[in-house]
Assembly symmetry: C2
Homo-oligomer: 537 residues x 2
Amino acid sequence: MTLDKYTEVYLPKIKHYRQDLSKQVEPYLPLIKNIDPSKDEHFNAAVEIEKLLSPKELKITGLTTRELIDKQLQNELTAVDIYNAFSKRGALAHIFTNCAMELFFPEGLERAQELDDYRIKNGGKLVGPFHGIPISLKELMKYKGKITNAGYVAFLDNIITNPDDESLTIKILRDQGAVFYIRTSQPQTVMHLDTQNNITGRTTNPFNTKISPGGSSGGEGAAVALKASVIGIGSDIGGSVRVPAAFCGIYGIRPTTKRLSGLGSLSGGAGQESIFATQGPMTNSIDDIDYYMDAYINKGKPWLKDPNIIPLEWKLNYQLDDTITFGFLTTDTIVDPSDSIKRGLSYVQDKLTKFTGKKCIVKTINLDHELMENAYKQNKQIYGTSKPTHDEILNKSEEPILPLTQVFLNFANENGNNILTNNIVKEQTKLYFHQLFENESLDFIIGPTFTNVAEVPDNITHWFYSSMFNLIDFPNIVFKTGLTHDSNVDLQGPSNMTNYNPNDYINAPIGLQLTAKRFEDEKLVACVRLLDEVLGL
Amino acid sequence: MTLDKYTEVYLPKIKHYRQDLSKQVEPYLPLIKNIDPSKDEHFNAAVEIEKLLSPKELKITGLTTRELIDKQLQNELTAVDIYNAFSKRGALAHIFTNCAMELFFPEGLERAQELDDYRIKNGGKLVGPFHGIPISLKELMKYKGKITNAGYVAFLDNIITNPDDESLTIKILRDQGAVFYIRTSQPQTVMHLDTQNNITGRTTNPFNTKISPGGSSGGEGAAVALKASVIGIGSDIGGSVRVPAAFCGIYGIRPTTKRLSGLGSLSGGAGQESIFATQGPMTNSIDDIDYYMDAYINKGKPWLKDPNIIPLEWKLNYQLDDTITFGFLTTDTIVDPSDSIKRGLSYVQDKLTKFTGKKCIVKTINLDHELMENAYKQNKQIYGTSKPTHDEILNKSEEPILPLTQVFLNFANENGNNILTNNIVKEQTKLYFHQLFENESLDFIIGPTFTNVAEVPDNITHWFYSSMFNLIDFPNIVFKTGLTHDSNVDLQGPSNMTNYNPNDYINAPIGLQLTAKRFEDEKLVACVRLLDEVLGL
């Protein structure tokens, strides 16, 4: 029997890659010598990690970007202090959830030291708005001098040798003082709302190892929730920022496309332009999203390097009107969400109705089933357009096709897509939603991010709660409700699920999706600030 | 022998349509009783029309939008005065060049009267920034209560009965006080850089009836050059604003897409999104373009109704830096332009070099032939994507396929397009041009709009001088050089032409194309003001 190409050529590469990754966390293993995550199938990494930290580390990693910048300016913290606290959490986060694809602690430390030295030599001046801020990066962002594999075994040799090819976002953030030490996991083909690949395996949810952290930016979801970084850079073409944000109980924005640059990202989706991907920051505080967008857009000016980016200023600290109208979306008309999601929606609706700080009008919105069904069909076909490229890359290494990869590859229309129909239905849907906002005088739509709270991986097949907004390019933020799944009351699963077990989802946070009209990204941020207040977070 | 569908069903409709059009100009026919255009194959309508006007009419139709607004505010002119002067020119323009597809003089007059009445009742107040301004409209813009056929015989019954379906631009301009009375001609399928259809026939060049006015907004080109309106609304997906602007000696902007709305336009290109069409105003003065963009964008706020439009403010009276660098493009590396175009480029280059009012640096730029060849191939294939829709509409009426329609239909790849390759090459080309601007420190590129000055129709097959910029969505303005074709010196035609006769192009203006980076639309306007000064226009 001869070995196949995957076994012979690629398994050794995978082994080597994993060894490099494991080696990075070796110094941290003594910290967890008394913990055995395998003893609890619902292991809660978030709780366990906090037990392993000093009060100072806890305090530092609880600060926002602006606070960390201020503490440095006041000489209360150094970049090295900040780095040490976050990187310790990063190591533990990876040990417990397998959220990293690459770790480079020595470089991170060196960079933090260099930033501290810069301040000493420059009268306390900061390099830029991210001076000393640990930012985690989704693996598909090309990083100079490092392998970028985008979750494909075939790209395990793909070292970014030309610095010009590096992700523009990485360049902008580095120029603004960011500290990098962790690149986070993503699924094979990037087209799962889960995080599993053949290189580093599966990433788990930070609150319950039985369930998924979401995906495709699932490594970011886990890393940010566990405070491995202040800000994580995800990307989203069908829910890949928002689903992990919801599953991991953090904030994540999918801004209107072409405000943040994806230049220098590796993906099998190149050339598919009916739905554009966008990057989006994922954070523990809504202030961090506002801060990030302001610094990246207004100071980073990505349009100077990326001709696809719109030179539209970010309006920091956007102010909402005195009266706000919310449309509540409880079903996409195709799959009804679980009890926990429904409970989250009712809870927020109730809190808004009772809120006295602002006039909040609440409505229920009902979508046209026929339109939505056709929109979902076209939506999937559009994703399927890039199947030939994915097939080619997968075939190159002969790596096993993972179950959720197969789900995605099946989106492609066997007889080839009709791109004209795809786009015409997309535009109809876009106009339909625009007019829905207009006719109902809506400021925002609140709805599910996914059919359920953080889900067991096999069930993550229905993308439409998130992907409908990629189709029409209306921006969203996932926000926290403060609630978690309750196995005693959330007895009913999503309508497409037959194997729902309410006990699977212990500790799973209930995150919901807020949507505004195109280019109203700042208004979304302002509204999440309001929601945090309304919900007492 | 039985009659075919076209002859039996559609020819009577065409006859009826033409009769309606002719009837509108009947009252004006006595004006031209001593003129027989057919006696001169190079008949110059522009010169002849001016002989038929009173000094007052000449004066009014020589004013810019801002001047016409000021004259109304100063009570020196009424909307009816303005309407009468422009509409007389419009009637004559149509008689000589066949530039209209629909004329509705009584409605225009009624509207002008209504606007005057409004001022009387409202203490002299204007309805909006286009109060009393005659604006001509390309036929494909859906007009409530009227047929919109987009140059297709099959759409001769397509009356826009629901006012909501009307072109958003028409609604915005009407709300701002514009006066409509002329809808202008366009070619079959809209995809010619010439203007001929089976409904109203061929439109001719205002300076020389033997040559084309360009297209597809060729009716606008002729109408605006002959001052039937102050501003003409064209649209451009491959050169359709710029080629007629160049051929007719006027200004025309193709702004970055998604600043002006095309909502409510009729075309066979729906769903083709790799290259977006955009509207663009065509004018006799660069000030009118600046004025139009400011009023339409900043006051019209098209994004409130059209979710595809970017809420990016128009910067009126943009100021250029003290030093400006121009890259001169003399060939697209595929077809070399004619002597007249080369002479125009040399002339502008020379004037810029000698100009002392600002530091103008002039460079020659050379494009990568291999990239450009591939880009043009993909460019044509992208246009060809919509062939099935065009075929279907053409088949419906069985109207004859015009020669330039066949050229366009042949763009389609027989084996079906690879949309991924189309878009990947597009993005490579976009980045290539962006980096060309950056590496050469260019502010602008000046180059041909087309391979020749206004051309005889059959030769209008090479689109790439204009369409390369649709492919990469870099904005352009066509500007006047002040020169015209000279049959004594412009002896050599474009390199793809075997039947060039320098005597064909008598009086043809030499218009060139100015290009800036994406979203630098205002900078283009400012530069054309500078060029007007440099060239003494």
